[in-house]
Amino acid sequence: MTAKPLTGRLPIARLSFYIVCVVLVGVMWQVTNYVNSRPYPTAPESQPEMDKAVDAYENINNLLITLGTGLLGAMGFLLTSKPRQHYRLREMWPAILSAVFVGLSLYFGYISYQNVEFVLLNSVGTLDVDLVQLPKTAHFYTLLLGVFFFADFVMQDLGKAD
């Protein structure tokens, strides 16, 4: 028996997808608000130290964003490389979770970048503030979760091919 393709499901499934999206965006809105309202007292560092910190931040941010977009591309390739193979919803969960976490990782990457820009424009003088550190940490750990679920999906997919 072949599974029903996900794209041809009832409108109720599409409705649940949009409801989940709205809830997710609402939660992220609140999280961003919380991060951006964290109090910070700082003693600005000297310019060379700040330049080094920004360089290190940029390198890691670029690397994580490249890994995230690469992971999404690999996921898309895996899902479309076998057009005749339809996945059941329960087989798709790791792929869905992986895509959600990688999406969140990219979002947190953007927020931390926006806040680094804020720190530089307002001469806060250090990156050691919750405004930058919280989204930066979330950026890394959500990507890690995305990689974990992607690996789970790939293992399941390989098992199916055998």
């Binding site: 409108p11 599409r14 409705l15 608000n33 309202s37 003693a43």
Partner: protein
Amino acid sequence: MKRTNMKARRLLPVLKLALGCLFLFPALLQSQMPQRPGRLTVDSTPPGAAVTIDSQPMSRPTPFTFVLSPGQHSVSVSGKDQAGREMRCTASLNIVAGSAKAVHCTAKGWDPPVK
């Protein structure tokens, strides 16, 4: 089942619109951007006293200009005066976004007094 599907079909455009608004508006809202910080210059006589802000010891002694997020902050300066007596000043300061404030600690307390 058919009625539920019909309702779902009618709700879809509304949800899509709500999602679009949720995606676009946060970027325009002030609450989604950090507020501009304020500056607080902490000085003391004699200089070199330790500064603690929000129970967090600062890496720089007085005199120094610290950068603080807007809102209420507790500031404490401790050290020894020229006669070797303990000097301690504590205050709760309201920092306004984009503003600059200065406080000066002596053995007799804040000079001028901090409100």
